[in-house]
Amino acid sequence: MNGIEVVRAGVLTTVQDLGRTGYAHLGVPRGGALDAPAHRLANRLAGNPAEAATLETTVTGVAVRPREPVTAAVTGASAPVTVDGRPVAWGAPVRVPAGSVLEVGPAVHGLRSYLAFAGGVAVEPVLGSRCTDVLSGLGPAPLKDADVVPLGDRHGPAAHLDGPPGGAPGGELVLRVVLGPRDDWFTAGSLRTLGTGAYRVSAAGNRIGLRLEGPPLERAVKGELPSEGMVLGAVQVPPDGHPVVFLADHPTTGGYPVIAVVPEPDLAPAAQAAPGTAVRFVPVRSAARDRARLG
């Protein structure tokens, strides 16, 4: 079997693709790469379609040994990349000989690197996706040392970029938000706080949500919210008032009110923001919200 042996799994390396859709009504989270643009770019560099599965690392990188020669590419969080200890390019196709060790080192900027192999990671799909969903346990388990991960047949030629891709942004994380669906459950003061408050990324975040520290958001409506469907990017406010931005493995329904929703393009930088990063929310308008309020 064409595949790669896991030499060093890292703290949390998972198989990711574009996620599972169409099963949220059964309680199945979407899942998929947290930094979807980086996942797509890694696939493009390796000559794969966007839906091919990649490896998503977390902070500490990963080391693998391909059984056959393979073209690979690393994107997302920038990190030193080596083949048998010799530095090779990040953000470009790399030819790895059979039996050589390809290592993605600790993340320098960002948290999550994406490692694509020509042919894609070819674990058996579950409900149409190969992704690991850490909330519900669907898909393959996170990588362990000495695992062998199957690869598919290569698709097309590797692509080259004119220059190196942009890495994860540094400095302040600015997240646009569309207010609602439950902004009316919060005090007017808290709605102002959301748009002006200085928040920081908490170390307690994971693939389920980006947890934030900062001024707590107070509710105007007390009592329990009957469980309702949750969207990707929902800013849910639990009883302690500290907002959580839902990422790919978020639960499909929840009982805490959602004060606002972060648009999908802003979630990739959110997933790369290290603990301690300053966060600011910027409320924006949405046609759907304007129309829903009139309707």
Partner: protein, 219 residues
């Protein structure tokens, strides 16, 4: 009450439409019953090709989320004028779930209900339940059907591990744990039915709209 169609319609204007970001609408109804009827109408319109493209349709206790819409603003304007027929009793597929009423919280539930322990199973299996919505875990269904006098508070301290197949109560709902997980519901029994199997079609034994009859099994 003028005509058969209208006689069964829920009164119009009962849907409140809330935007959830730029590509989703959360439609809030007045009650769980209205939400289930609205959900059925959404599915009917989707199957009839009358609904614009939507990625996920997620019912909740009193809501239906329509996610992955290209033009939610247009649909938001249209939804409140929908005429939503009342759900006919006995619609939806029927699934039987065998249960041994031997749960760890049986005594506590019996005390709260004011019945003998062996009565709990008879009360619970004596009514038809149906799936209002799913969530919490793949294949975990929130079933309604018990009368208000049998509604049940959650445990004050959740268990760190509830075994797979546990039949449990919380609030107005019955749930069956598809796999072992932490949980705060009151355990009344266990089933040998497989609630969730991603290799099976359909993966979930219980999906929104399914009617469920719990069948009491001996010890």
């Amino acid at each position: 009450m003028n005509g058969p169609g209208r006689a069964h319609a829920l009164h119009p204007g009962s849907a409140t439409v809330r935007a959830a970001g730029s590509h989703a609408l959360l439609v809030e109804l007045e009650s769980g019953e209205h939400a289930e009827a609205f959900h059925a109408e959404v599915l009917r319109r989707r199957d009839a090709g009358e609904l614009p493209g939507v990625r996920e349709i997620v019912p909740g206790a009193r809501t239906v989320l329509l996610d992955g819409l290209d033009d939610p603003a247009a649909l938001a304007g249209e939804l409140p004028s929908w005429e939503v027929p009342r759900l006919e009793a006995g619609s939806g597929p029927l699934v039987e779930v065998p249960v041994r009423y031997d749960g760890a919280d049986l005594a506590e539930v019996a005390a709260l209900w004011g019945v003998a322990e062996e009565e709990v199973g008879r009360v619970h299996s004596g009514v038809e339940h149906h799936v209002a919505f799913c969530g919490f875990a793949p294949g975990f269904a929130y079933l309604t059907g018990l009368r208000a006098q049998y509604h049940m508070p959650r445990r004050s301290t959740p268990r760190t591990a509830v075994p797979a197949g546990s039949v449990a109560l919380a609030g107005p709902y019955t749930g069956v744990y598809p796999r072992s997980s932490p949980g705060g519901w009151q355990l009344i029994g266990t089933t040998r039915s497989t609630l969730w199997d991603p290799d099976r079609e359909p993966a979930a034994l219980l999906s929104p709209g399914t009617r469920v009859r719990f069948v009491m099994e001996d010890g």
